[in-house]
């Protein structure tokens, strides 16, 4: 059984600075979203329990070929990638079509895993969209998975309760961040990562017209404005009065 994990390349958020409400991305290395890493860890644990192959799929700019080594070093066996510099900031519907076409090229799929949301926009759309395109069952908010022959027993973490469902395979599952702690790649896995197989496709191979299919245009992406009111006070008494007036403290 092949276990497919969809991962999205994003800038390393810990290294992004904000200047004039815009993210400064120059020199910021690319990585995968943190919940995507939980999804990969889930796949690796399923493989350890029941065997199979873990295949990472992703679509992105040319840098993705380097970024994917991170997933291969963590233990994925193979990667299927669509590389094109036009793939920066593509909308969820396009991602879903691209990845669905990639998935069609993989045989004997049991489970397709996603993080519940991507590390940057967190729209949470691509997993459900792919399930719809491929006509597969989809279960979200997954916090536990048990393999049962041709089915899986899945625990969903909902607001007030946990729901347990059984799903026939193949199925799409979207994973919660607290399902596990992603492993740190061992040195030997890092050394092997560069030699693991990668299937690389271009957008043309998929037969999608990126510009034609564009339905949503992002006009701007700004950090929230941090409005601070400035009041000058001469002494502690005035400070207390000002805080009372602003409702920060009460008598």
């Amino acid at each position: 059984m092949n276990i497919v994990v969809a991962m999205k390349q994003i800038p390393d958020l810990q290294q992004v600075r904000i200047r004039n409400r815009q993210p400064v991305l120059d020199g910021v290395p690319m990585t995968f979203g943190s919940i995507d890493k939980n999804a990969l860890e889930t796949a690796l644990q399923l493989k350890e329990a029941a065997g199979g192959n873990v295949i990472v799929i992703s679509a992105g700019t040319e840098e993705l070929e380097d970024t994917v080594k991170e997933a291969l070093a963590a233990g994925a066996d193979e990667a299927y990638l669509v590389l094109d510099d036009e793939l920066e900031n593509i909308e969820s519907s396009v991602s879903a079509h691209l990845l669905a076409e990639l998935i069609k090229q993989i045989e004997n799929i049991g489970i397709i895993l996603f993080g519940e949301g991507s590390g940057d926009n967190y729209s949470g759309q691509v997993g459900p969209r792919i399930a719809e395109i491929l006509g597969l069952p989809e279960v979200g908010y997954v916090c536990d998975i048990e393999l049962e022959d041709s089915r899986v027993k899945v625990t969903r973490s909902l607001e007030d309760c946990e729901e347990i469902v059984r799903v026939n395979l193949p199925a799409v599952l979207t994973i919660m961040a607290d399902i596990n702690e992603p492993r740190i790649p061992s040195v030997t896995q890092i050394l092997k990562a560069g030699k693991k197989p990668k299937q690389i496709l271009e957008v043309e191979d998929i037969g999608l017209d990126l510009k034609g299919d564009k339905k949503i245009i992002t006009l701007s992406s700004l950090a929230p404005e941090n409005k601070r009111k400035q009041i000058t006070v001469k002494n502690g008494e005035e400070l207390v009065d000002a805080l009372l007036t602003e409702g920060v403290i009460r008598r």
């Binding site: 290395p29 380097d66 080594k69 991170e70 070093a73 740190i184 790649p185 061992s186 040195v187 030997t188 896995q189 890092i190 050394l191 990562a193 560069g194």
Partner: protein, 388 residues
């Protein structure tokens, strides 16, 4: 000339940096206070395959190059890993294992390297003695052959990992009359009769590494545990390993230069005096520039020395210049980091004072600055000093 790391080197760097930043650096105050090698960390190193870094894959190691090894040490210390624990780890991975990698026969490699690579055993290196430091060729410890074994007698001093090591590479005189050419090297297991761990030593810094004397009292070592031939301990085993030691362990201090800079720059941005963050003051800016220069120069010297060694050439000048520079830079950097932090810099909580306590060793261990300076003088002028 391209100074960038390969993808593989970069990934090793990033993996170590992230781990050290998230799981190691937050516990360095505790490690420094406890003055014990953190076994919880060693267990993680075992899981991540960090114990046999330069041991070939066929013996269970990762088979890394020297540059890859240096990159990992540098990344850990740059992220804030304490120099002491790095030193214990580095000692195991280099001088505690490499004598067997480079000079061991097939049987010795098969017997010992897998245990060292997995981290089941910890290695140490016993050359220095109470009265023999820089003059290492004149070791007092003796090894007398008696049939199928040697009997070792003597005391080794300042042994990093001494209290925890399961295996020691020991240098002892098999023929005192021949000086350096009468020294032999042995693989000695902790359980061999006559091997004991002496006094645990109380040091200024490097608290994550434990240091002790190792005592050999009629210690029985089988002949098959001798590395190379009799008399080749110092001239071949020692000569080969010490250059690796000079190259690799110094990378820890290179990383620490980066850590000092990062801590100081961040502090200077946050600390406000006279209505401005102190990073706006010229004297602070100048200090930070020099700290960054020291870090960058040390890193470039590290790349140069390790790349040369990896290309199969000996680089005594490159390794020695690297160590001398980094030793001096470590003093400057730690001192300036404290200066920028002001009174807080003297507090353990702010972590830069540890850098000052840890900085001195790199000017003393693996060749004192005096001995190394004379070595460089010989190499670059092709002359010898008046005093020999």
């Amino acid at each position: 000339m391209d100074f960038s790391l390969s993808d593989q080197e970069q990934m090793l760097h990033d993996t170590v940096y992230k781990f050290a930043k998230n799981e190691w650096e937050p516990r360095t105050l505790e490690i420094d206070k406890e003055e014990r090698f953190p076994m919880w960390l060693w267990d993680k190193f075992k899981e991540m395959g960090w114990c046999g870094l330069m041991i070939p894959e066929e013996y269970g190691g990762a088979g890394l190059s020297l540059l890859e090894l240096c990159t990992m040490f540098e990344a850990a210390a740059h992220a804030g890993a304490d120099i002491g624990t790095c030193l214990a780890w580095g000692t195991h991975c280099t001088i505690g294992s490499l004598p067997i990698v480079f000079c061991g026969n097939e049987e010795q490699k098969k017997k010992y390297l897998p245990r060292l690579a997995s981290g089941e055993w910890i290695g140490c290196f016993c050359l220095t003695e109470p009265n023999v430091g820089s003059d290492a060729a004149h070791v007092q410890c003796t090894a007398t052959r008696k049939g199928d074994h040697y009997v070792l007698n003597g005391t080794k001093m300042f042994i990093t990992n001494g209290p925890n090591a399961d295996l020691a590479v020991v240098f002892a005189a098999t023929d005192k009359s021949r000086g350096a050419k009468g020294v032999s090297a042995f693989i000695v297991e902790r359980t061999f009769p006559g091997y004991s761990v002496g006094k645990r030593l109380d040091k200024i810094g490097m608290h994550g590494s434990e240091t002790s004397e190792i005592i050999f009292d009629n210690c029985i070592v089988p002949v098959e545990n001798r590395l190379l031939e009799e008399g080749e301990g110092f001239t071949k085993v020692g000569a080969k390993i010490l250059e690796y030691e000079r190259n690799s362990l110094v990378a820890i201090w290179t990383g620490n230069l980066g850590y000092n800079f990062d801590l100081s720059a961040n502090y200077a941005k946050q600390r406000t005096q006279f209505d401005y963050p102190i990073i706006r003051f010229p004297q602070i800016r100048e200090r930070l520039v020099h700290m960054k220069l020291d870090y960058d120069i040390s890193k470039l010297l590290m790349y140069r020395a390790a790349s040369k060694k990896d290309s199969g050439k000996d680089g005594p000048l490159e390794a020695t210049e690297y160590k001398i520079f980094t030793g001096q830079a470590s003093q400057r950097s730690a001192s300036e980091a404290i200066q920028i932090h002001g009174g807080y810099g003297l507090m353990r909580e702010y972590k830069v004072e540890r850098s000052l306590r840890d900085a001195k060793l790199v000017q003393i261990g693996a060749g004192t600055e005096q001995v190394l300076t004379e070595l460089v003088a010989r190499l670059i002028t092709d002359t010898r000093s008046l005093i020999g």
